[in-house]
């Protein structure tokens, strides 16, 4: 919301400086986003008169002017076709900065003739687009006056961000009212602002216009007054200057009046050319598919939820949002109908959202205009039309009833302190509220002014008094602190995440944060996405991720393209499945697992066992019983079918998936070479059983363990883990560990077989093993292995 300082002062009688006003605005909740004085940058330009004009001896298109800018004649070379003796324009002396050309003027020689400055066009001064000639001012413009002073440009433009609750401040008057309440001046009576003797409906004897509302929900009230015999010319300077200053283009006085009142009072209006209407006007619901060409030149297709203003033939207004092109006023308009209606905020918001159409009117109506201001709004509009366009007013039609509801709040002034934290004397609170337009009776029943739709409870009144009194005055009060040292607050899930995050980083992985959404194609190999956005920013960010790997694969690909040799990324975040959001850790290892080196030789890519090592290390960090996990298959179609697996606690609970990513998945990311990956499912991790801090007693075995090696020939397809488990189970009392240390195929091993070598650790109890005992255990080991088709190698 923009306005100028002089505009504000029409409503606010104040001695306050610009700085004080700006500071106060922000302090009371009307955040100033910018202040700009358009005259400041043009201060060096002056009103000047061309005394004489003679042809340039060296150039046909140039003239040599003698210019008086208040300090006597100066020679100026000028190329403007309209430059001539007697013209009064705007002169820039050497040293003046020309904003439109981004240059600073200096004394220059142009085709052999000295030029002491420049006569300027509107474009050069950034006052308009015109560059066909130099500015022409009225002949009586005072020579030598700084141009900004003459043109009224020294009027700072203040830009204020209005929060959605403050419709009343979508008009300059509301802002003035707030400032007056904050002690910055006195609010000028509205009639005085508009130079009206009394603020009352303008009486007229022509027949009242035929308007009605058939949609009391969308348009509860439709007030209208007609004026016949108007002349629609150019707006008065004060109005067009104000509109121009805030960036609105003056169009014609009738249109400008509606725009001006909208900004001045937050009261949108609409003016119809009666000659273009057939029959009366009615506020009704649109018919499905009904169309209207709006004033922005676009055609909108309407539906039956939308309120429109229509005559017997067509729709002329998307009610409260934008008028129609057909019945808009033009310079030939003579008879007008002024609409001052109340549109329901919810309806406006829904219609505006559906049509994707914003306008100054919508912004105001959807926040809720003052329902008690229809008569005044219409009176001011008619007054302005009569004053600037002439004509004869009609009687007024008041169709429907504006929803004026008297709202009162039982308020306890102590709430300022008990909620707002600031003790304010009740009399002071009463004064603040009254200056804002509230009435306060002796029993502290506070009546809300009709323009403050946002205020409906005690807390709102506390806000009003605190913001006006000064939120900076609220003293800080420490929160009560529980005695003693702060208690731990993290949940087991949070602690798990933290351990995994720091564990992964400690293992040399870099944590990334990638988008929660991805493309359908990226989601497909991971089972597809259960959640697809209806309004994605792009097709690439459409589906909620079913896995963390796509985001990491894409990041890995970007890194490799940037020249990274080895990428080790991880992320902790959610997968979005149909039933729940599941906390997950993803790891992607791409590029070189080992760089080439003088010790190890050639570089090596990451392999599936790098992934397995990460998976197990992270599972250990998560406190999962790594020793008891089973490696199983079914990693999924995104994975290499022969080099991937799942780690499970029991046959059903999958704690992690690991291995090589399927080459087809890898290729989809434009990645070269093998990629290893891990996904850990945090919500599947077994919880830590709470047993307090005490550890079991320390009891190391009295005797040293014995190690024995066994080599077995087994069928090639036998999973090594099966043999290890079988051997481990051969004598649960004696065998404490089994470790596979060699796998061999080739010379001495038949086709279809492989040799697996195991180191078995035997732990004696109270006495050392005898040779017989050791032999018995070895026999059990061989027998257990035999059940899997394993034969002890000789």
């Amino acid at each position: 919301m923009k306005f100028t300082l002089s505009w504000l002062k029409e409503h606010l009688e104040t001695e306050a400086s610009l700085d004080a006003i700006v500071e106060a605005l922000t302090r009371i909740g009307l955040e100033v986003e910018g202040v700009e004085n358009p005259g400041e940058k043009l201060a060096a330009f002056k009103v000047a008169k061309v005394l004489s004009a003679a042809p340039h001896p060296q150039a046909d298109k140039l003239q040599i002017l003698s210019v008086d800018a208040g300090d006597g004649p100066l020679q100026v070379v000028c190329g403007a076709p309209n430059a001539r003796a007697g013209l009064v324009g705007v002169f820039g002396a050497p040293g003046a900065y020309v904003p439109g050309s981004d240059m600073t003027l200096k004394v220059a020689e142009i085709r052999g003739v000295v030029s002491n400055g420049m006569m300027c066009s509107t474009r050069e001064l950034e006052l308009g687009e015109d560059h066909d000639g130099i500015i022409e001012l009225p002949a009586d413009a005072p020579i030598g006056t700084p141009y900004p002073d003459y043109a009224g440009l020294n009027d700072p433009v203040i830009d204020v961000a209005i929060t959605p609750n403050r419709q009343d401040c979508m008009g300059v008057r509301g802002i003035a009212r707030d400032l007056a309440a904050a002690g910055l001046g006195t609010l000028t009576p509205l009639a005085e602002v508009y130079r009206m003797t009394v603020l009352a409906p303008v009486a007229g004897s022509d027949p009242a216009p035929d308007v009605r509302t058939e949609d009391p929900a969308g348009c509860p009230a439709f007030f209208a007054q007609a004026v016949s015999g108007v002349t629609n010319g150019v707006s008065p300077a004060w109005m067009s200057q104000k509109l121009t200053a805030i960036g609105q283009k003056p169009i014609s006085v009738l249109v400008d009046i509606t725009n001006f009142v909208s900004v001045d009072l937050g009261r949108p209006l609409h003016v119809y050319d009666r000659a273009k209407l057939t029959g009366g006007l009615v506020a009704r619901r649109a018919k499905d598919g009904e169309q209207v060409l709006a004033l922005n030149g676009k055609t909108y297709s309407l539906d039956a939820t939308m309120t429109v203003i229509a005559d017997d033939v067509a729709v002329h207004d998307i009610g409260g949002i934008m008028g129609g092109e057909h019945s808009g006023v033009s310079e030939t308009t003579t008879d007008v109908l002024i609409e001052c209606a109340y549109f329901d905020p919810d309806h406006i918001a829904r219609t505006g959202q559906k049509l994707g159409l914003t306008s100054d009117a919508r912004t105001r109506f959807e926040r809720g205009v003052d329902p008690a201001f229809l008569d005044h709004g219409l009176a001011i509009a008619t007054h302005l039309v009569l004053e600037h366009c002439g004509g004869t007013p009609s009687a007024i039609t008041r169709a429907g009833t504006p929803p004026v509801v008297a709202r009162s709040i039982a308020y306890d002034p102590a709430r300022a302190e008990t909620l707002g934290g600031l003790a304010i004397a009740p009399e002071r609170q009463k004064a603040i509220l009254e200056r804002l337009g509230f009435t306060v009776d002796s029993g502290w029943t506070v009546t809300v002014p009709s323009w403050r739709r946002d205020v409906d409870g005690s807390a709102d009144l506390v806000e009003e008094v605190i913001r006006i009194e000064g939120i900076d005055k609220v003293p800080t009060v420490p929160l009560e602190r529980a005695p003693g040292v702060a208690k731990p607050t993290a949940t087991p899930e949070q602690k798990l995440e933290r351990r995994l995050r720091r564990g992964a980083a400690a293992r040399g992985l870099n944590e990334a944060v990638t988008w929660s959404f991805l493309s359908e194609a990226e989601a497909a190999p991971f089972g597809g996405g259960a959640w697809s956005l209806a309004n994605p920013i792009s097709e690439d960010l459409k589906v909620m991720r079913p896995s963390l790997l796509p985001g990491l694969l894409a990041a890995a690909a970007r890194n490799l393209k940037r020249g990274a040799q080895s990428v080790r990324l991880f992320e902790i975040g959610r997968r979005y499945l149909a039933d729940a959001e599941r906390p997950t850790l993803g790891v992607v290892l791409a590029g070189e697992g080992r760089a080439r080196g003088w010790q190890q030789g050639k570089a090596a890519p990451f392999d599936a066992f790098d992934a397995k090592a990460e998976a197990l290390a992270l599972l250990a960090a998560a406190g999962a019983p790594v020793e008891n996990l089973q490696v199983m298959g079914e990693a999924g179609e995104a994975w290499h079918p022969g080099q991937s697996g799942t780690l499970r606690l029991g046959p059903k609970t999958v704690l992690a998936t690991f291995g090589m990513v399927h080459p087809l998945t890898v290729r989809a990311y434009d990645l070269d070479g093998p990629v290893a990956a891990v996904e850990l499912y945090l919500d599947a991790m077994p919880g830590k059983r709470s047993t307090g801090f005490m550890r079991p007693a320390y009891a190391p075995p009295a005797l040293q363990a014995v190690r024995r090696d066994f080599a077995f020939l087994v069928p090639a397809e036998l999973a090594a883990d099966a043999l290890v488990r079988a051997v481990k189970g051969a004598d649960k009392a004696a065998i404490t560990a089994v470790r596979l240390f060699d796998v061999f195929t080739g010379a001495g091993v038949d086709e279809g077989q492989k040799s697996l070598a195991l180191e078995v650790t035997l732990q004696p109890g109270e006495k050392s093993f005898t040779d017989e005992e050791l032999k018995a255990v070895a026999d059990k080991v061989v027998a257990a292995a035999a059940k899997l088709g394993a034969v002890l190698r000789g």
Binding site: A459, A490, G508, V513, Y576
Partner: protein, 359 residues
């Protein structure tokens, strides 16, 4: 010089002259072996008269001890020389590179979330979480943002397609505030929580990404006022930036779910062309806050006449940028390892109150 002296000198000289263990052993066998010269002398002791033995015994034994000791010393010296020679052969170029250790890193967003948890734990706040795929009621309605409220349009919400009749409209949460609602519904006051997490808005430019991180704070208790809110935010920001000159400015504002509402600016000073938090050369907006709206408290089944409190919300990415100096939000979500290593944190940089939360 007696014969014994002569013999000793010869033997010691031979020992000294031994160039290696083999030569030394030859000398040893020659002197102390079964047929050795010293052994031979010892053997003569048995046939001597007691007087002779009295006179010769100590000398012969002394000779044997001297030779034995000399051999032992020589052996140590030769061993050492051997070892030195081997070590000399084993010399490596110690300037050769060792295998590089991969340095992992923690993302700044995670680090800042841990910092927040640490600071707020000291103030008695637990960390709460909630779903990112939310329903319309928790994200808007319960927060006093009814349908068609302009604030809804302001939020640039990502929606999911509407399902069958009667289902609640699902969306991506536009703020962490629905966690307030879920907490109040599931937990009896007094409540003190922060709720960090991912949030989403359909917005994308240099300072906005469609996904970002927010932290919500909520206190519900008896007798909580705007003064407590001010203190909490001031205490938090001072602890977070680890500066005592952090200055706050509250500006009255509007959020549908708080009343009164305030936006909070924090003062900064310019240092080397960058804005540094502290002092008050200028102001930067860092959070939104206010007293929880009575309608929100009532929507959660609590009596607003009995319970009141405050809430605040703050961008975590922005906090990270202000503290650690990143000036572009987009690389946060790019996974560029160069950026991650530059702005990331060591696994060992665990924020603690005793060590300072910053790293």
């Amino acid at each position: 010089m007696t014969d014994l002296d002569h013999m000793r000198d010869n033997l010691l000289a031979a020992i000294d002259a031994s160039g290696g263990l083999d030569a030394l052993d030859t000398v040893r066998v020659g002197a102390l072996g079964k047929q050795g010269s010293v052994t031979g002398l010892l053997k003569t002791l048995g046939s001597m008269s007691p007087e002779e033995r009295q006179a010769q015994g100590p000398q012969i034994h002394a000779l044997r001890e001297a030779v034995t000791a000399a051999i032992a010393n020589k052996k140590i010296a030769l061993d050492r020389a051997d070892l030195d020679a081997r070590l000399a052969r084993e010399t490596l170029d110690m300037t050769l590179p060792a295998d590089g250790v991969q340095m992992g890193s923690i993302h700044p967003v995670s680090q800042v979330m841990d910092e927040l948890a640490e600071i707020f734990a000291d103030l008695g706040f637990a960390v709460a979480t909630g779903p990112e795929i939310e329903d319309d009621w928790h994200n808007f309605t319960a927060l006093n943002i009814p349908e068609s409220h302009p604030a809804r349009a302001m939020h640039d919400t990502f929606y999911f397609p509407e399902g069958a009749e009667g289902e609640r409209k699902m969306l991506l949460r536009t703020h962490t505030s629905p966690v307030q609602i879920r907490t109040m519904l599931n937990q009896k006051p007094p409540i003190r929580i922060i709720a960090p997490g991912r949030t989403y808005r359909s917005d994308s430019d240099a300072t906005h990404t469609p996904m970002f991180h927010q932290v919500e704070g909520l206190v519900i208790d008896k007798g909580i006022t705007l003064g407590h809110l001010k203190w909490t935010l001031e205490t938090f920001l001072k602890a977070f930036f680890e500066r005592d000159d952090v200055v706050l400015r509250l500006r009255p504002s509007y959020f549908p779910f708080t009343e009164p509402s305030a936006e909070v600016d924090v003062g900064y000073t310019m240092e080397k062309g960058k804005r540094v938090i502290g002092g008050s050369d200028g102001w930067m907006e860092v959070l939104g806050s206010g007293m929880v709206h009575p309608k929100v408290i009532a929507a959660c089944g609590l009596d607003p006449d009995e319970w009141q409190g405050f809430a605040f919300g703050c961008g975590i990415d922005r906090l990270a940028m202000l503290k650690y100096g990143m000036d572009d939000l987009r690389p946060f979500f790019d996974g560029d390892i160069r950026w991650l290593k530059h702005y990331g944190f060591s696994a060992l940089d665990v924020p603690t109150l005793s060590g300072g939360v910053g790293a």
